[in-house]
């Protein structure tokens, strides 16, 4: 993780070259003037596809959670021909994640630069920025103003439409998003052709997370060698994380990939951790996995390390569950939310997730009968891989890891005891429940 000889100049005002994405004005959105002063104009290549080679050399992967190589997605769309459509996906539907919203608020122009550069690289003639509930509210206003300023100043070459995503967990899913942009509901589809071949308006569509676009905007200016100065060889660069500390505070952090977790949540993991220490750490959000605090202390912030314990990094959510909370109760709350956010289109998911949610609720109460755990495990197996999207799979992964990591707690519950001192909910969850089709539009 140390910089190679001959550091390539680039943004990042800390000694380690971080942060790169977040602007120096830490609380205040960076306006167009400041952005131009810091970064200059959009470094258009005036040639399609050139940028793709740089992105391949840089090794940038998607920051929306799937970590798919950016250059491959762009090459697929560029090769598809026609008039591609570009979408910046800012629909951060993971309730525990706030890094995309923060990035859009603080450095919108960096994201919008990346949107233009990606559009140019694939030859897109139209673009959209897809964000939750931006018809009204401060973020919507800020983005609309930023887009109109850029268009008047002729900075943008492709007109960008600001599209509003419904407040649903699945709204950011690729096929659901394309469905909505095509005038339908934000529901996943199955048999449709892949988005890079036929997406919005039937055109080949490139979808990139907004943080990915910000990285693209920097790689275009400073090159792949600069990009690789932080991170690991296999997973270069930096990433934004949403860290929930055990004392209930939370912050957005830009960290080099490969950073040891104690550097991010050390205060929580230590022997005299905040609020009495950490019971377990949730990594990867509500489709991620729980890790015992001891194990978390040995982990590094990269997908390779996470995969070794069957987990995922996802979109960088790290939540340290305080020792005074019941892990099963927290998991039950989350899974009830996940069940309610099912599209309800596929039989196994529709039948399995609510039953799993109810089962976990039973397990988080006193004296659950012995077969409930076996039922939940069986249902988790039954929903995996049998839906149109990965919602049941991710939810099953979350459930299974909760049952494994909190098995000691489960034994307490079977005796009618609970080791938690506080019933106060910890993990953030929205209150709205979708009841009509309109809630998906």
């Amino acid at each position: 993780m140390s910089a190679p000889q001959g550091q390539v100049p680039g943004p990042g005002f800390g000694p380690d070259g971080l942060p790169r994405l977040l602007p120096p004005s830490v609380n205040v959105p960076e306006g167009l003037r400041d952005h131009l002063a810091r970064h200059g104009f959009v470094p258009y290549r005036n040639a399609r596809r050139q940028l793709i080679g740089d992105l391949e050399a840089a090794g940038l992967t998607g920051r929306g959670g799937a970590a798919f190589p950016v250059y491959r997605k762009m090459a697929a769309v560029a090769e598809a021909g026609g008039h591609p459509f570009m979408v910046g996906n800012g629909a951060e539907s993971e309730p525990a994640s706030n890094k995309d919203m923060s990035l859009l608020w603080l450095a919108p122009h960096l994201v919008l630069d990346g949107l233009q550069l990606a559009a140019e690289a694939v030859g897109a003639t139209e673009a959209a920025l897809y964000v939750h509930e931006v018809e009204a509210g401060p973020l919507g206003e800020l983005l609309r103003r930023a887009l109109s300023e850029r268009w008047s100043a002729r900075i943008d070459r492709v007109l960008v439409r600001l599209a509003s995503a419904p407040p649903r967990f699945l709204a950011g899913q690729e096929t659901a998003m394309v469905n909505l942009l095509n005038g339908g509901l934000a529901l996943p589809t199955y048999a449709a052709p892949r988005v890079f071949a036929r997406g919005v308006g039937g055109a080949p569509t490139l979808v990139q997370n907004v943080e990915t676009l910000a990285h693209i905007a920097l790689v275009a200016r400073f090159g792949p060698r600069w990009f690789r100065q932080v991170g690991t060889a296999a997973e270069p660069g930096s990433m934004l994380c949403t860290i929930h500390h055990a004392d209930g505070s939370a912050r957005i952090v830009e960290a080099a990939i490969g950073t040891p977790l104690p550097e991010l949540i050390g205060a929580d993991l230590g022997p005299h951790g905040l609020d009495g220490g950490t019971r377990a750490v949730l990594i990867g959000g509500y489709h991620g996995t729980w890790v015992p605090a001891v194990r978390a202390a040995e982990l590094t912030l990269d997908n390779a390390a996470m995969a070794a314990s069957g987990g995922i990094l996802g979109a960088g959510v790290i939540a340290a569950l305080p020792a005074n909370r019941c892990g099963l109760a927290e998991a039950a709350r989350v899974v009830r939310y996940l069940a309610l956010e099912s599209a309800g289109q596929c039989g196994p998911c529709l039948n399995g997730l609510p039953r799993i949610a109810e089962g976990l609720s039973t397990l988080s109460g006193p004296r659950p009968s012995p077969e409930v755990r076996a039922d939940v495990e069986r249902w988790a197996g039954l929903v995996t891989g049998r839906g149109a999207c990965s919602h049941p799979d991710g939810s099953a992964r979350f459930v299974r890891s909760a049952l494994a990591v909190f098995s000691a707690e489960l034994r307490h519950h079977e005796q009618g005891l609970c080791s938690a001192a506080s019933q106060r909910p910890f993990l953030p969850l929205p209150a709205e429940v979708a009841v009509r089709d309109e809630d998906w539009s």
Partner: protein, 86 residues
């Protein structure tokens, strides 16, 4: 009695060993009628909610004809026989 419709575009040529085929179901269209499990019990069973559990292995040539009947027997055409990509 005329045989059932050829609901898909495949030719029933069981004498030719074609490329390997795999059973797939469109989970959104599937309504759990269960006809497929009756027509191809060797490779399709139903879970506790009535939805199909498909054997992921390639369909053996001996069962290919029955597999096509299962595909055409689905009232909503959710079951497909797809070519296995190499």
């Amino acid at each position: 009695m005329p045989s059932s419709y050829q609901a898909s575009s495949y030719q029933a040529s069981s004498h030719r060993a074609g490329p390997a085929k795999q059973l797939q179901v469109n989970p959104i269209e599937c309504e759990g009628h269960g006809a497929c499990a009756e027509l191809l019990p060797e490779m399709i069973s139903l879970d506790e909610w009535g939805y199909p559990l498909l054997d992921p292995r390639p369909v053996p040539p001996a069962l290919e004809r029955q597999a096509r009947r299962a595909v055409s027997g689905c009232p909503v055409l959710a079951l497909r026989l797809t070519r296995l990509s190499s």
